[in-house]
Structure formats: C-alpha cells, structure tokens
C-alpha cells in the first residue's frame, strides 16, 4: 500500500529556500507568485493489509524519522487521496 507523507516547516519557521525560489520567480517576471514554501514529500511503500495499519505505521515513521517535530509538521494521505490524519 502506498502512503504519502508531506512534511512542511511550521508556519512560524523561516524558509530560506522558499523565499529564494519566490525571489527567483519574481526576477523571471512571475509576479503572480506571491509566496513559495518548500517542504518534503515521501512515498512509502508499506506492507499493510488495512488502511488503518498503514496509517499507524506511517504515522510512527513520520514522527520518528521523516519529520523534525521541532520545526516541521506532517500530514499523511493514502494513495487514493483520502486524508488519514494530520499532526503537528
């Protein structure tokens, strides 16, 4: 089962990459881009029979390794696009 994990910087945390990308886009003339925030995206291929089991495993893995809880929060989705839960 494929689970998708999105890791984003918490809103209060400065994102120099996003800012630099936004600046670059402005320099290229894309003034319609007001702001950019960059995060990480993971696709986990899990050995799980039910969505619940997959969700629990992904949650644990995201919490322990994929996201840095001090500055990041994450969100989990199963492949179908159904939201499974979120936590910050």
């Amino acid at each position: 089962m494929t689970v998708r994990v999105f890791v984003t910087l918490k809103p209060s945390v400065f994102d120099p990459q996003g800012r630099t990308i936004a600046d670059a886009l402005h320099a290229m003339g894309y003034d319609g881009v007001r702001d950019v925030r960059q995060g990480k995206y993971f696709e986990l291929d899990l050995d799980a029979d039910t969505v619940d089991v997959a969700k629990k495993l992904a949650d644990e893995v995201a919490d322990k390794l994929l996201a840095n809880p001090v500055i990041e929060s994450y969100r989990i989705e199963v492949d179908e696009g159904e939201k499974l839960g979120s936590r910050s």
Partner: protein, 747 residues
C-alpha cells in the same frame, strides 16, 4: 500601563534588585517593551554579569594586539601589513534543541562577528562535546551538528580546517558547540561597531525580522528543565546564501569610506546592536520599528526589538552617501533600509511611527548591567576523586589490546568521518588540512601562513579546573607550535554550569585564573572570547569546559609541519621530559572506566622553551614532522605519527623506567600516561646532531630516541620491549573508532 508584577519579572529572568535598578535609571516604570530590552541586555549571555569581574584579570595586551576585547572580535598584527581578526562563540543550547540549525546559525553568527570588523573570513574551527555515542539520540545530535556546521560553512565558502571532539556522559543532555572563525584585513582598515555623527542615518540590511529566537539570550541564561521545551522560542533557521550576499556586500561597502560603524544582530538582535553601537560611540540612536522589514504580520515593537532572526546587520552611514550605499547592496540583491538616525542625547529611542515605545540611555543599558561577585565554594566531589590508588587499578590487559582500545575510543580515533563533511580546501589556502594537526592556511601574496588550534579537556578541568585550564592553553599553543608557527594570541570560550551554584563559580574562577597564568607565561594576550553558563539539565552540570583557541604565525609557509613521519626512514626524538600520569587520563577512563586522580603538573617555563624550540627547528628546516603527546599518551602519539603514511612503523627507546608500585601500572603510565610538554619529532640522520645540540641549548631534554620504518609500532624501556603492534591493526582500530557508529561508514 501594564503592571509589572513578580511573574513578569520572573518570565524575563530579572531579579527584584535588577528591577529596582531599572526604575532608578529610568526614573519611572518601564513599559513592557523597555522591560524586554533590559532583560535581554542584562541577561547573563549579553551582560557577562557573573563573569565580568573575573574576566578582567586576563592578560589582554601585547605588542601584536590591534584590538582587544570589547569589539565584535579581537585583532592581532600578523606581519606584512595584515591583521588577523578572530573569535570563538558557543551555540550550545540552540544546538541541543535543533542540532542542524543550532550549529549552522552558530557558524553564521561567528562569521558575521568577523566580517563586521572589515575582515574577510578565511578559516573556521570547531570544538564539540557530546554524550556517549551508544545512545541513538546523541548520534542524531552529532549528525545534525556536523551537517549543520558543514551546511553553513561549505555553502558560504569558508574552509573548516580543524577542531576537536570529545565524548563524556556529562554532555549527554548538554552538548557543546563552540565555533571559531578567523579573518584577514589590511592593517589600519578595521571597522568598529560604533555609532557617531549626529544625523547620520542608521541602516538595516539583510533578512527580514521574524519571531524567531525571541528570548534566545534569556534562554541561554537559564538551565534546562522539563518545562524548557515549552518555553522554546521559534527556532532560528540559517540562510548561508543570504549571509554570503551580506558578506560580499559589506566587504565591498567597506572599501568606500561611506560607512561609519557596523554591527551584526546576534544575541538580543536589534536591541543589542543599537544600544552597543550607541554606547561605544557615546551617542543616541533613534529608530522607527515600523520601518523594519518584517516577515510576519502583526509583530509588536517588543517582538521586533527582541527577535533573533539571523543574517541581519545594522549600519551607521555617512549622511549624504545613502545612494552609494544602497547601490552596493542592490547589486547583491539586498535591500538596505534606513530605519533611523544617530542623535547626540545618548538615548536609545524606539518609535513605532510617531509614538515613542522605548527610551533608555544606551550607556546604562549596554555598560551598566549589574555585576555580581558570586559566592564560591570548593566542590565536595574533589576530595573523593583526587586520590587515585594505582595499585588498586584493574590489571593492564596486554599493551597491544590497551592501545587498540584507546585508538578505537571515540575521543582518540580518526575524525575523518567528521571533517570529510566539511569543505576544508575552498579558497585554496589550506596548507595543513584537518586531521594533520593544527589548521594552517597560507596568506596569498605573502610568504606567511597562520596556524590555529582549539583545545580543551573537560575531564581535566573537572578534576582540577586551574591546572586543567592551564593545560588547555598549553595544548592549543603547542599544537600551533608543532606546525612550525609561533603562537601569538588567544581567544577562549568558557562553558560552565549554573554560576549561581557556588561550586560552579569555584570551577569558573579557578579556570579563569589558570588561563590567565598560562597566557601570561606563554605571552598569549587574550583578544576576546565568550562565556556560556547554565550548561546544565535537571541540576546536572557539564564538566567545566574552557576551550582555548590559539593563533600563530609561520613566516615561511613552505616550512609547515604535520603530524606524520615522512616517507623513508628517519630518526625520532621525544622532546621534553616527564613521565605521563594516569590521573584524569583517557586510559583511566576508557580502559579502567574511572575518572579520578591528579593531573600531571605543567611547568610553564619548560612548555615555553619547548614551543620556542619547535618554532626555531621548523623555521630552520631541521625537523620533518612534529606531534604532541595528548589524549592516550606516548603510545597513541607514536601510533598517530605512523597513520596516513602507508602504514610505516616506528620504534622508540626510553632509557630507563623504574618507579614505585605495581609493575603493570608503571608500564601503563609510561605508555598511556598523559603529561604536557612532550613532542615527537622526526629528523633526518644528517640533522640529528644539530637538533640535539639546539635542544640542549634551549634547555629542552630529550626523553627518548628511535627510528621510523618497518611495519610495527614498538616502544621499549631500558631494553625491555613494552609494546609491539602491527601498524595496520592499529590504524584499522583508529579509523573505525568513530565511523563504526554511523550507517554511511561504507560509503
């Protein structure tokens, strides 16, 4: 008017007496913004209120000193019309909370301190302390810290050319991250952090201000406890790209004479930079916070003044030169914003639009923080620890297995896994790279090179802070001298526990005395430094850890020496005298599992003679390599001279042994005992006689002789072979000591 109650004061880390002093200075109740400003400026971190009276005793003058303590960094004359600007800073607390960003912003901060002075930063060093690596969390902290140091330094393009790392239980919940930076400027071009000239505009340039790090300085001035994670300010995120632009733009601006003064916004941000620049210039500064570029909406003046967002600079510019200044920053895609002006009334006046939200005399804020002579008491643990009964030690395993254990211990083992992550070659000046001894960079356009080393030993200082601190000074200077450079000046970073505890304050004062004595004797003026108190968690303090940074000059960069024996056979001499002692040694800790005993004594006179001799021999091209005996004693030092040579061996013969007590304990102290003022050098056969004669003339004894060659490491005493080990085996243990803890070791 908000009522300032005791809870508000506690939240700001201000005592009742300190509040009384604020009332006296202002002649009225402070506003909350003003209280916030006082609280950060009078925090331990910014005001040095517990340490200042002791730091005053340190030697700070000398013929080479161009700028002593008090500015953003110290500076010394290094010849050929150049000055070296350098300093060391701690970023311990932030690195524990978020290792990558904490360490990265630590590097960013010290680099700003250097280029603020008008110097181009050319080298970085770091001194690190962690808990034992069998703990996964500690491994995570270490990986984050190393990646953060590399991530920032590599990106901005300043080589990290050396450092040191040690591991002890006491750092598990309080890792230490001390970063040293050195820059170069032409003599007479240093820029000061001073505001002067009535009506001169005050500029802000760099990253926008966010809510990050509010109360960072206050955080660094309190212990950790269970609630700390709740009190966490938003973590500061480093932006090395922004800093690179700032660095280049500021250096370009400094080529003009449009700049009056400049200071980076480090701890306590805008508050500290405005009040210190005003205080140094004896002027007032009038700024409008609504003009400050802001990253988040709805920030209050309180938040703006206390923010510790990274990569920001404050400048005072000559009136009439604004266009020129703005043009230079614009070239680097930076936006310099005028936020106020210099006044003559000595006040820090903060407005929000037309409303004045704070008005405090700069001088009182920056220079008249309360000073404390805190009570001192000898710690109870000392008596228990200082006696060491050698005959009660566990028996020495075979000398070979003891050496293998020591070489494979994380503190002694190769640090390649670490420095491979640092760009140590960018700028093409690195003559002696990380891993070979002191860091050495040449100065292009001259024949000279600068050597630098950071050293400290918390375990030593725990057992004897006075002697331990002296040993740290001696070792840092000795490492510099081993490269062939004459040590000329020092900086220090003093990492201690809670100064409100009399035993900690005792450690601190003893260490400061030790540093002062050693620096005086070795003629090393201290041009600046940093104090980091409150390194404790739940009442458990770190080992007292003063870290010394020493800078030296080598006149002929082609004469730089490293630790490794040269190819082909050569003669070896152990310069210096004195048997190592096991008290406080790496052997005692790693092999016997004990931290106890008395340290070997240090004769500053012998140390000085040894260092001068090394510099003289190196300059004359009479020695081929030099390496001091440090952690792990003589056997480890000899082994280290053999590593990275393609596994060439060496043999060393000592004239006599002897001593009272159990035979195996005596053998252990000969091989693994630690003592200062001992250096292994290699010499060609034809120079052997001259070197002996020079040593004798300098009053430096020769404790042992030997030869390099073969493929074994051998040490014998009075004809008895004490150690006989294959270099390849020893080198494998040394290489894997640290790497084995990390998954990418195979890469």
């Amino acid at each position: 008017m908000p009522v300032i109650d005791s809870k508000t004061l506690e939240h700001h880390g201000l005592s009742r007496e300190e509040y009384e002093k604020i009332l006296e200075i202002l002649g009225r109740e402070p506003s909350l913004t003003e209280l916030g400003i006082f609280s950060v400026m009078w925090s331990e971190h910014c005001s040095y209120k517990s340490s200042r009276i002791h730091l005053r005793t340190l030697p700070t003058t000398g013929a080479c000193v161009v700028q002593g303590p008090g500015e953003n960094a110290g500076a010394v004359d290094v010849g050929d019309g150049l000055v070296a600007v350098f300093k060391i800073e701690s970023h311990n607390h932030p690195s524990f909370i978020e290792p990558y960003q904490g360490a990265a912003t630590g590097v960013g901060g010290i680099i700003r301190d250097i280029f603020t002075m008008g110097a181009r930063p050319i080298a970085l060093l770091n001194s690190l302390r962690f808990g034992p690596l069998d703990d996964a969390r500690t491994r995570g902290i270490l990986e984050g810290v190393i990646a953060g140091i590399g991530g920032y330094g590599n990106s901005i393009g300043i080589p990290t050319i050396g450092g040191e790392i040690a591991f002890e239980d006491s750092y598990a919940a309080n890792p230490l991250v001390n970063v040293f930076c050195l820059g170069i400027a032409k003599a007479g071009t240093l820029v000061m952090g001073q505001a002067s000239g009535e009506g001169n505009p005050v500029y802000y340039v760099g990253a926008k201000t966010g809510r990050d790090g509010i109360h960072g300085a206050t955080m660094a001035s309190a212990e950790f406890d269970e609630q700390s994670s709740e009190k966490r300010p938003a973590v500061q995120v480093g932006d090395p790209f922004m800093e690179k632009l700032l660095l280049e733009a500021c250096l370009e601006l400094m080529q003009t004479d449009a700049l009056v003064g400049i200071q980076d916004m480090g701890a306590a941000g805008l508050t500290c930079s405005t009040s210190e620049m005003g205080a140094r210039g004896g002027t007032g500064i009038d700024i409008d916070v609504s003009r400050i570029p802001q990253r988040e909406s709805g920030m209050t003046p309180y938040e703006i003044m206390l923010s510790e967002s990274q990569e920001r600079m404050l400048m005072v510019v000559r009136h009439g030169r604004e266009v020129e200044v703005e043009r230079i920053f614009k070239k680097w895609d930076l936006h310099a914003v005028s936020i106020g002006k210099v006044t003559m009334d000595g006040q820090l006046r903060v407005r929000e639009g037309d409303a004045v939200v704070a008005e405090i005399p700069n001088g009182k804020l920056a220079d008249e923080a309360p000073l404390y002579d805190r009570p001192i008491e000898t710690p109870a643990y000392l008596e228990r620890l200082c006696s060491l009964e050698l005959n009660a030690l566990p028996p020495l395993p075979t000398t070979e297995s003891a050496l293998r254990t020591l070489l494979g211990s994380v503190t002694v083992s190769s640090k390649r896994w670490v420095y491979r992550q640092y760009d140590h070659m960018v700028r093409t000046n690195t003559v002696l790279p990380a891993g070979m001894g002191a860091g050495v960079v040449r100065l292009k356009g001259t024949n000279r090179a600068l050597a630098m080393s950071v050293d400290g030993n918390g375990r030593h200082c725990y057992l004897d802070p006075h002697l331990g601190a002296m040993l740290a000074v001696a070792e840092a200077a000795r490492n510099v001298a081993c490269s062939g450079a004459l040590p000329i000046a020092a900086t220090n970073c003093l990492n201690f526990g809670n100064p409100e505890r009399p035993e900690i304050m005792w450690q601190f004062t003893r260490a400061v005395e030790g540093i002062g004595e050693a620096c005086l004797a070795l003629e090393l003026p201290i041009t600046g430094g940093n104090v980091s108190f409150y390194n404790e968690t739940d009442g458990q303090a770190i080992y007292p850890t003063p870290v010394m940074g020493v800078v030296g000059v080598i006149e002929d960069a082609t004469r730089v020496l490293g630790r490794t024996f040269p190819a082909g056979e050569s003669a070896i001499l152990l310069l210096g005298s004195g048997r190592g002692v096991l008290g406080g040694s790496e052997y005692l800790k790693t092999v016997c599992g004990q931290v106890a005993g008395s340290l070997a004594d240090l004769s500053l006179e012998s140390e000085r003679a040894l260092q001068r001799l090394l510099v003289e021999l190196a300059a004359a091209g009479l020695i081929q390599s030099a390496h001091d005996c440090s952690d792990g004693g003589l056997a480890v030092a000899l082994a280290e001279c053999c590593f990275d040579t393609g596994s060439m061996g060496a043999e060393l013969m000592m004239p006599d042994g002897g001593g009272e007590g159990r035979a195996d304990a005596i053998d252990a102290s000969i091989l693994f005992g630690e003592a200062p003022s001992r250096v292994l050098v290699s010499v060609t056969d034809s120079d052997f006689g001259v070197v002996r004669a020079r040593a004798e003339a300098a009053g430096v004894p020769i404790a042992a002789q030997g030869r390099s060659g073969g493929d074994r490491i051998r040490i014998s005493i009075a004809g008895r072979l004490l150690l006989d080990m294959s270099v390849v085996d020893a080198e494998v243990a040394w290489r894997q000591g640290l790497e084995r803890f990390f998954a990418d070791r195979a890469a």
